[in-house]
C-alpha cells in the first residue's frame, strides 16, 4: 500500500514577498515584474508503507519543500498529494516549545500539538524523559537548557507520538555521539515496525546505510529515483 503519493506536483514561490506595506504600495505603480521561482516542477512519486526514502540534492533543489508538503504545512499549486497516517515531523524538533515553560510542561504542550492525548502522554511521560536523558532538569524552564538538551527533548517527544510516517530533515547532525547512536537504534526499530521514513540529508553515508530508495532531485525535477547506490553515483557525477 502506498502511504504517500505525489501526482504532477508543482510549486511556485514568489521571490521576495513584500513584507512591508510601503513596498507593496510602491510596487503597485511599477510595471509588475513577475519574479517567481518554480521550486518543484511536475513531481511524481509514490512511497510504499514501511519503506525508507532518502532525498538528496543541492541546496535549493526542492528537498525541503517536498518534506513540507508531505508534512501538510505547505500546499502545492498544481497536482495532487495524498498522505495517509500520523506524521512525526522531525524537522527542527521542538517547534512550539515555550522557553519559559519547564521541560515537563513542554512535553505536554508539544505532545498534544503532535497529536497525542494528555492521557497517552501520562503513560509515555517517563519513557520520554528517559530517552531524552534530562534527569533533574525536567522541571527547569527550557530556556536554561543547552541546545543539545533542547534537541534531545524535542526528538524524544516526536518519536514517542507513535507516528506512521517519520520525516527527518538533517536532524541527526545534533546531539553527542551517544545520543545519535540512540536515535539510529530508534530509527532501525521504526524500520522493523514497518514505519515509513523520509530522510532529507546531505549525509550520503546516512542515505547509503538506511534507505531503501533514494530520490535525486535537481532544480525541482526528479533526476533519479530508485536504488541508493545508483542515486549516489549520479549525485557524485553531478557534483563534479
Amino acid at each position: 500500500m502506498d502511504t504517500i503519493i505525489f501526482k504532477n506536483v508543482g510549486k511556485t514561490f514568489k521571490k521576495g514577498q513584500k513584507l512591508l506595506l510601503k513596498e507593496a504600495l510602491l510596487d503597485m505603480f511599477k510595471p509588475s515584474k513577475s519574479e517567481t521561482f518554480e521550486v518543484l516542477k511536475d513531481i511524481n512519486f509514490s512511497l510504499e508503507q514501511g519503506k525508507t526514502l532518502g532525498i538528496i540534492g543541492n541546496n535549493g533543489s526542492g528537498k525541503s519543500t517536498i518534506l513540507k508538503i508531505v508534512a501538510g504545512v505547505m500546499f502545492p499549486d498544481r497536482g495532487s498529494v495524498k498522505v495517509s497516517g500520523r506524521i512525526a515531523p522531525l524537522i527542527d524538533v521542538g517547534a512550539g516549545f515555550h522557553p519559559e515553560l519547564t521541560g515537563r510542561e513542554n512535553i505536554y504542550l508539544n505532545g498534544v500539538i503532535l497529536g497525542l492525548k494528555r492521557s497517552e502522554i501520562d503513560k509515555k511521560y517517563q519513557s520520554i524523559v528517559d530517552f531524552a536523558g534530562l534527569g533533574d532538569f525536567i522541571d527547569t524552564p527550557i530556556k536554561h537548557y543547552s541546545s543539545g538538551m533542547y534537541m534531545r527533548l524535542g526528538f524524544s517527544i516526536a518519536i514517542h507520538t507513535d507516528p506512521d510516517i517519520l520525516l527527518v530533515d538533517e536532524i541527526l547532525a545534533v546531539g553527542d555521539e551517544a545520543f545519535q547512536h540512540k536515535c539510529f537504534l530508534k530509527i532501525k526499530e521504526f524500520q522493523r515496525a514497518k514505519k515509513t521514513i523520509i530522510f532529507v540529508t546531505h549525509s550520503l553515508f546516512l542515505v547509503g546505510k538506511y534507505c531503501d530508495e533514494v530520490m535525486l532531485i535537481d532544480n525541482g525535477v526528479i533526476k533519479y529515483l530508485g536504488d541508493p547506490k545508483i542515486a549516489l553515483e549520479k549525485y557524485k557525477t553531478q557534483e563534479s
Binding site: 513584500k18 510601503k22 507593496a24 517547534a95 512550539g96 519559559e100 515553560l101 504542550l109
Partner: protein
C-alpha cells in the same frame, strides 16, 4: 466538531499563553488585575476632578469600570490575536495543525483575564452598594456578540499581518482611537446629536452600552442598536473566517 477534535491542542495553547505571560515577573498573574486597576485610578482621577460626566447616580469609578473591563478585553484580545500567527511561525512551518486555532487560542486566553476582572467588578459593586440586577442574565449574549466581533477582526488582522507586519504596528494606535470613539470613558448621552448617527455606526457602542446597562442600571440592552452590533459581528466573523482560510494556505510560504 472541529472544536471537539482539537480541544486538547487548544487547551494546551491557551495554557501556554496564560502560564508564560507573566513568568519572570515578581507579581506574576496579578498584573492581569493590576493593569485595569491602575488605569481605573488614573482615569477616575481625571474624570472626577477635572471633567465631570453625568453617570446617573453611579460613582464614576464604578461607571468607568463596567465599560473599561469589556473594552480592555476587546482591545487586548484583538492585539494578541493579531500577532498570534506570526508568533507561532515555528509551529506553522513545521506541524500540520488547523490554523484556525492560533487566533482563537489567544482570544480564549484573554477570556480568563476578563473573568478575573469581572470578579473584581463584583467586589466593586459590593463596595459601592450597587444592587445585582436580574438583567445580568443578558451578559452571556452580550459577551457572545463581543467575542464574535473580536474573533472576526482577529482572523482578518492576524492573516494580513503575515504578509504585512505593518498591521501589528498600527493596531495600538487604531485601538486607542477606537476607544475614544466608543463610550468607554464617557456616557453616550454626551455625544453631540449632529454626529450621533456616525457615532452609532460603531459596533462597539451598543456592546459597551449594553454591558453597562445590564450590570449597573438593570436595564435590558437597547435591542435595536444591539441587533445592529450582532449583525455586524456575525458578518465580520464569517468574513474573517473566509479571509483567514484563503490566506492561511500560504502562511508557510510567506511567514
Amino acid at each position: 466538531m472541529f472544536l471537539l477534535r482539537y480541544k486538547e491542542i487548544l487547551n494546551e495553547l491557551v495554557k501556554r499563553e496564560v502560564k508564560s505571560r507573566y513568568k519572570q515577573s515578581i507579581l506574576g498573574y496579578a498584573w492581569v488585575l493590576l493593569v485595569p486597576l491602575i488605569n481605573l485610578v488614573v482615569i477616575s482621577i481625571v474624570f472626577s476632578f477635572f471633567i465631570r460626566v453625568p453617570t446617573g447616580g453611579v460613582p464614576y469609578a464604578m461607571y468607568l469600570f463596567a465599560g473599561l473591563v469589556p473594552w480592555m478585553f476587546t482591545a487586548n484580545a484583538i492585539t494578541s490575536a493579531t500577532g498570534s500567527v506570526v508568533q507561532n511561525n515555528s509551529l506553522i512551518t513545521k506541524v500540520a495543525l488547523p490554523r484556525y486555532i492560533f487566533p482563537l487560542a489567544s482570544v480564549l486566553a484573554k477570556i480568563i483575564d476578563l473573568l478575573l476582572n469581572f470578579l473584581i467588578m463584583v467586589g466593586f459593586m459590593i463596595f459601592f452598594q450597587i444592587s445585582f440586577q436580574w438583567t445580568l442574565i443578558f451578559l452571556p449574549i452580550i459577551f457572545l456578540v463581543n467575542f464574535m466581533l473580536i474573533l472576526g477582526i482577529g482572523y482578518i488582522l492576524s492573516s494580513i499581518n503575515v504578509y504585512f507586519r505593518d498591521v501589528e504596528n498600527i493596531i495600538g494606535v487604531f485601538l486607542t482611537m477606537w476607544m475614544y470613539l466608543t463610550p468607554v470613558l464617557y456616557p453616550p448621552e454626551m455625544v453631540p446629536s449632529n454626529v450621533k448617527f456616525f457615532f452609532n455606526l460603531n459596533p462597539m457602542t451598543p456592546i459597551i452600552n449594553s454591558y453597562r446597562n445590564v450590570i449597573l442600571y438593570g436595564v435590558v440592552p437597547p435591542w435595536q442598536s444591539f441587533m445592529y452590533s450582532l449583525g455586524f459581528s456575525v458578518v465580520i466573523y464569517f468574513l474573517g473566517l473566509t479571509i483567514y482560510k484563503r490566506l492561511s494556505r500560504n502562511f508557510a510560504d510567506v511567514i
